[in-house]
């Protein structure tokens, strides 16, 4: 049996102000050199579990703690956090909140200086850990100048510098674009495989967890529901769905096919295995002709937004947009995608007149936005920024939602009515008296959306609304966006989470390096995998399986979701399944 590096024994925990237990009788052994993934919905207790490993729970937060956690033989209740920090490196969700120094090398030196490591030893360790996270050559750079992925890798390097035997990462990729997330996963995998470091990682990124983790622990409601390899856990699609956890799409596809009694012996959890299994299903099942999808409604009417030859150069000389032209019509649901730095947010900020064109024009209803004040545009356009915390400043949820209405001079009755309606629409009635920052991130985002809804804008822009959300939270927000679209609003969404969007968006604008690479209906856009990959976007697994199906069968299957893919197969008559 492998060596055990950490043991949780009957761990239960309650924060000082939480109404009940956040962890409930969790017993778990973590083995030396393994990559343990922790999955579960928001509120499952994943972050708290991570914090028990470095002693921050309960030593910093206080509260009621039951049972014991031992890491490298140290009891995390009886040993100070500073001692535990030598065994457990921690990396949190938002790299911005972890970096404090003015240069990359100072950032790494900081924890070592705190632990009184001799200067010569600090100088020896810095290049070593920078090489491990592929940041060699960045020693003198300011952390502020790094990309999101680089920042998170720097945070990992700072954690590694203390030479921990266990590295704990809590949602390290949820704030990153696909490139950044890939960088972090690649580094973590390398640390695990090449250097034998034990990894504990919480993540909603199911496809990546299936690829990299040795074991998964499924948490829900503070309980450990299941523990096993990805091949044991992810095929339990029903269990995962009951607990609001999204399995990899490849699992969903073949789980549905098995439900239809098609010959799926083992549900694959990785894409390549899925492609293999697809072949056996093709042999043992009947493939239906590609379904006919109704053509998306042709755009009509005068454009609501009309962008002509838009070019934007930032004061530091960065050319963010290179002569972009596009029209968005009233009532469209538009998805804008592209890697970080592609120019998505720069483009959207021109709609709001937050940025002014260097060249070209942006018209709204035929009026140049430069002739309109930001306040005038704000009445027509609701903007939900990527980080909800930047838009929150009131003491209660209710005040936050009603703030703009009051500022715009609406009567108290109108303010009360619209506030209530918005709170109800976003399911926030029960927390209307709470401080917004006391809510989980998913709910904080909904507070901002409720405040926007109360303004009743005709255009709503969601900038990365699903970042940091679990599957349920992301779907909740996107369902709201769909309701708004059905009410006739124009909806523009920027996201990297392509797998979430097929049920919502009609039109996709793919951006790369300040230009529009593709502007097409969603099926065409998602199946132009070359263009997506050219801007470092990974198509959903269902799309890639559909492409594989096309390759095997010769017919085009413009499918987007696991359900659509599963719907293309039938049992062969007489096949026993």
């Amino acid at each position: 049996m492998a060596d055990v590096i950490a043991v949780l024994d009957k761990v239960s925990y309650k924060y000082p102000r939480s109404p009940g237990l956040v962890l409930r009788n969790i017993s778990l052994e973590i083995y030396k050199g393994e990559f343990l993934g922790i999955i579960g919905p928001t509120g499952a207790g994943k972050s708290t579990l991570c914090l028990t490993l470095n002693g921050i729970v309960p030593q910093f937060y206080g509260g009621d703690f039951y049972g014991s956690v031992h890491v490298s033989g140290l009891d995390t209740v009886e040993n100070p956090i500073s001692k535990l920090a030598c065994c457990v490196g921690s990396v949190f969700e938002d790299p911005e909140t972890q970096l404090i120094a003015t240069s990359v090398e100072n950032e790494i030196a900081f924890p070592l200086e705190n632990l009184k490591v001799p200067v010569d030893e600090i100088r020896r360790r810095i290049p070593r850990v920078l090489e491990m996270v592929r940041l060699s050559g960045y020693e003198k750079k300011s952390p502020a100048e790094l990309s999101g992925g680089q920042k998170q890798r720097l945070a990992i390097a700072a954690g590694l510098a203390v030479q921990p035997s266990l590295l704990v990462l809590d949602e390290p990729t949820s704030q990153l674009d696909p490139v950044g997330a890939q960088e972090v996963f690649a580094v973590v995998r390398e640390l695990n495989r090449q250097f034998g470091m034990t990894i504990v990682m919480c993540s909603h990124a199911a496809e990546e967890m299936a690829e990299h983790a040795d074991r998964l622990a499924l948490l829900a409601g503070g309980r450990l529901l299941a523990l096993g390899t990805p091949d044991e856990i992810y095929p339990q699609v029903q269990l995962l769905e009951e607990n609001q956890v999204r399995p990899p799409q490849v699992c969903s596809v073949f789980y549905s096919l098995r439900q239809k009694r098609l010959p799926v012996q083992n549900i694959p959890v990785r894409l390549e295995e899925g492609k293999q299994t697809l072949r056996s299903v093709l042999q043992g099942g009947r493939l239906l002709p590609p379904p006919a999808f109704p053509a998306p409604p042709a755009p009509h009417g005068t454009p609501l937004f009309s962008v002509k030859n838009l070019r934007h150069v930032y004061p530091d000389g960065t050319q963010a947009l290179h002569g972009i032209s596009l029209d968005i019509r009233k009532g469209e649901y538009v998805l804008i995608i592209g890697q970080n730095g592609a120019g998505k947010s720069t483009l959207v900020k021109h709609f709001l007149s937050i940025l002014r064109p260097t060249e070209g024009s942006v018209m709204i209803d035929g009026v140049d936005t430069q002739q309109l004040k930001v306040s005038q545009l704000a009445r027509r356009i609701g903007y939900v920024a990527q980080n909800p915390d930047n838009q929150i400043f009131n003491e209660t949820v209710e005040k936050e939602v009603s703030f703009a209405l009051t500022a715009l001079g609406h009567s108290p009755q109108v303010v009360a009515e619209r506030t209530l309606a918005s709170l109800q629409a976003m399911g926030l009635e029960e927390v209307k008296d709470r401080h917004p920052l006391s809510l989980p991130k998913g709910e904080r985002a909904r507070v901002v959306i409720a405040a926007i809804l109360a303004m009743q804008p005709e255009i709503i822009i969601f900038d990365e609304p699903t970042t940091g959300q679990d599957y349920r939270g992301a779907r909740y927000i996107l369902d709201i966006s769909r309701q708004l679209h059905q009410m006739g609003k124009t909806v523009i969404v920027i996201t990297h989470h392509l797998y979430l969007m097929p049920e919502y968006a009609q039109r996709v604008i793919v951006m790369g390096k300040g230009t529009i690479l593709l502007d097409a209906p969603i099926r065409a856009a998602y199946h132009d995998t070359q263009t997506l990959e050219s801007t470092f976007l990974t198509p959903p697994q269902a799309v890639l399986l559909a492409k594989e199906l096309e390759r095997l069968d010769g017919r085009a299957y413009p499918l987007l979701t696991p359900a659509e893919l599963a719907g293309c197969f039938e049992r062969q008559n007489g096949h026993l399944g």
């Binding site: 239960s12 102000r17 009788n25 049972g67 040993n79 100070p80 956090i81 401080h435 920052l437």
Partner: protein, 260 residues
């Protein structure tokens, strides 16, 4: 499956080593930095001390309220000490400003009825009381100020000191712990007023020995000091209530000796 904890309940202590008198050092450092930052902002007329006073005076007591008497005094002391060098335009008489800030936070931190430290407030009250007696006594006996002018010029401090010595001290401290925002605001403002008055008396005893202002200044002070105290109330109320409501809401660990 039963949800009741089956593991042994553990005694939780702050073992990080990063706490002083039950207040995490991170809090002490952050609030010291806030004190320094606010010291850059002057908000008064030039008075006998020779310069305007810093906005940070509005939060000296608040730090005692948030962190307790020891950690609060340390935090304020660090913040004010740095401010003396980086923002000398509001420092007044530096040593006096430093001592006054420390005593103010200490006095505010003692405004709770915690059994273990039930008598700590007496130290602040005595220092303030002796300072006040010396100040008024010296004004009358050495500088020939009339009793009426001396009392009028220090009326706010006298009232504040009396409210600090009386059981109202514990009442105000209790209000700070109230969930009712109005009571919380009153508690923060009155804790600020009374503890500042105590520290003010102590500090004035030193500055008066240095400057010996005449009766005319006492009469001027009678009208100016209430205005200045009002500014401090506003700063304390606005910042204090916001901070305490926020801290409660986000559930950050409460310093052991904090009043809120």
């Amino acid at each position: 499956m039963s949800d009741a904890p089956t593991g042994e309940k553990r005694k939780v202590a702050f073992l990080g080593g990063a706490a002083i008198d039950g207040a995490p050092i991170a809090y002490i450092v952050v609030l010291a930095a806030v004190t320094t930052a606010l010291a850059f902002i002057p908000f008064s007329f030039a008075l006998a001390g020779g310069g305007s006073f810093p906005l940070s005076q509005g939060i000296w007591a608040l730090l005692g309220i948030l962190l307790g008497p020891i950690a609060g005094a340390i935090s304020v002391g660090i913040g004010t000490l740095i401010a003396i060098f980086v923002a000398p335009h509001t420092a007044g008489v530096p040593v006096v400003t430093l001592l006054q800030s420390i005593l103010c936070a200490f006095a505010a931190g003692c405004m709770s009825a915690q059994a273990k430290r039930g008598g700590w407030w007496i130290i602040a009250a005595v220092l303030g009381g002796v300072g006040g007696l010396y100040y008024i006594g010296r004004a009358i006996s050495v500088n020939g100020v009339s009793l009426g002018a001396a009392v009028l010029g220090s009326l706010i401090q006298i009232i504040g000191w009396l409210l600090y010595v009386l059981p109202t001290r514990n009442l105000f401290g209790k209000w700070v712990g109230s969930k009712n925002v109005v009571l919380l605001a009153l508690g923060v403002i009155l804790c600020t007023a009374t503890s500042f008055a105590v520290a003010h008396f102590f500090a004035t005893a030193i500055t008066y020995t240095m400057f010996n202002w005449p009766q005319e200044v006492f009469l001027l002070l009678a009208s100016i000091i209430p205005v200045e105290y009002m500014f401090r109330f506003i700063v304390a109320g606005v910042i204090g209530v916001g901070v305490i409501v926020g801290l409660r809401a986000i559930g950050l660990v409460k310093p052991e000796r904090g009043l809120y």
